[in-house]
């Protein structure tokens, strides 16, 4: 971190009004994660209930994670990518990712992401790439198409099911 940025950081902390007028404007994104249970009734209606920490769930419970981000800084956040994990003991629900103004990517290892992850499958004709089973996703990522303006919010949601 340069001295100029360190100084700006101190200004931001101590004198927000002054910082706003300073030449160095920067984005500051705050990300939050919420979890809820989703029960689909026989008539297809969805019932979503907030799930507080350590409320018991059981096998088959559908959990919806909502990742929200707000730029609390003074400049737009560019190339914003939000990620959420598919926790151990759960499997991603195919097609459950929802987010306006962005596109979804998935990862089988938590490092590399693709809109359509592939896996190598051995066949009699050799190794062939095939689309991965969504149950194998370990991290989902949502990439916002446009910059997130200062003092605005965005986000996406996805679902997993307890195995």
């Amino acid at each position: 971190m340069t001295y100029a940025r360190a100084a700006a950081a101190i200004l931001t902390a101590v004198l927000p009004a002054l910082a706003a007028t300073a030449a160095i404007a920067k984005p500051v994104v705050v990300v939050t994660l919420a979890q809820a249970t989703v029960v689909t009734a026989a008539d297809g209606a969805e019932h979503v209930a907030a799930l507080t920490d350590n409320v018991p769930v059981t096998r088959g419970t559908a959990i919806r994670y909502t990742v929200s981000a707000k730029d609390t800084g003074t400049d737009p956040a560019r190339r914003l990518a939000l990620t959420g994990r598919v926790p151990s003991g759960t499997a991603y629900t195919p097609g459950s990712l929802r987010g306006p103004g962005g596109h979804a990517e998935y990862s089988l290892d938590g490092k590399t992401f693709s809109a359509h992850p592939m896996v190598a499958v051995k066949t009699s004709a050799g190794s062939v790439l095939q689309p991965a089973d969504p149950a194998q996703y370990v991290v989902v990522r949502w990439v916002k198409d446009a910059p997130l303006d200062a003092n605005t919010s965005t986000g996406f949601s996805y679902e997993v099911r307890v195995k």
Partner: protein, 174 residues
């Protein structure tokens, strides 16, 4: 499939003969998440400023605990009728998709129209028990049948990751 009948001569006129059999092997599903497992998740944001400096920030962690609970999926037999003096078999497929063993009560919809149930015939058979806390047992009612696995007198609960078949053999005693 293992099917057993436990009958005494007196019970040959019984309205019910109930068996409960296990289809061997686990059904094709992934292993259940163990009870007590904490499922936690943290999200993150990665973004850049106008000078292409990159930033990463994380959310607080949220978590839930997996509960010890059976989850019974019962596929009921079709509605049937039986003439007086005749016997009919009503079969239920039961699958415990939960992460703990348990038993399952088959409700009033398990009753086959036309069969009769007599209180004095209500003995515990293999795979069958009447609910003792049910205060009313009228002739013609055969509800609250509970399906257990295991041998007679060594009643066991239904394992998870297994599929069972409960066959209620009912006779219309006219």
């Amino acid at each position: 499939m293992m099917t057993r009948f436990h009958l005494t001569p007196r019970l040959l006129v019984a309205a019910f003969i109930t068996t409960c059999a296990t289809l061997g092997g686990a059904f094709a599903a992934s292993a259940a998440t163990a009870p007590g497992t904490v499922i936690s998740n943290t999200s993150s944001a990665v973004y850049s400023d106008a000078n292409s400096n990159s930033y990463t920030t994380n959310s607080a962690t949220v978590s839930v605990t997996v509960q010890n609970a059976p989850s019974m999926v019962v596929t009921a037999g079709t509605g049937q009728t039986v003439a007086p003096g005749q016997t009919i078999t009503d079969t239920f497929s039961i699958q415990n998709t939960g992460n703990a063993s348990g038993n399952v009560a088959l409700g009033a919809d398990a009753t086959i129209a036309g069969t009769q149930y007599r209180e004095r015939d209500a003995v515990v058979l293999y795979g069958y028990d009447r609910q003792r806390d049910d205060p009313v047992h009228h002739v013609g009612e055969s509800q609250h049948r509970t399906c257990f696995a295991g041998k007679r007198r060594r009643r066991q609960q239904l394992d998870f990751n297994r599929r069972y078949v409960c066959a209620f053999v009912e006779r219309n005693v006219g």
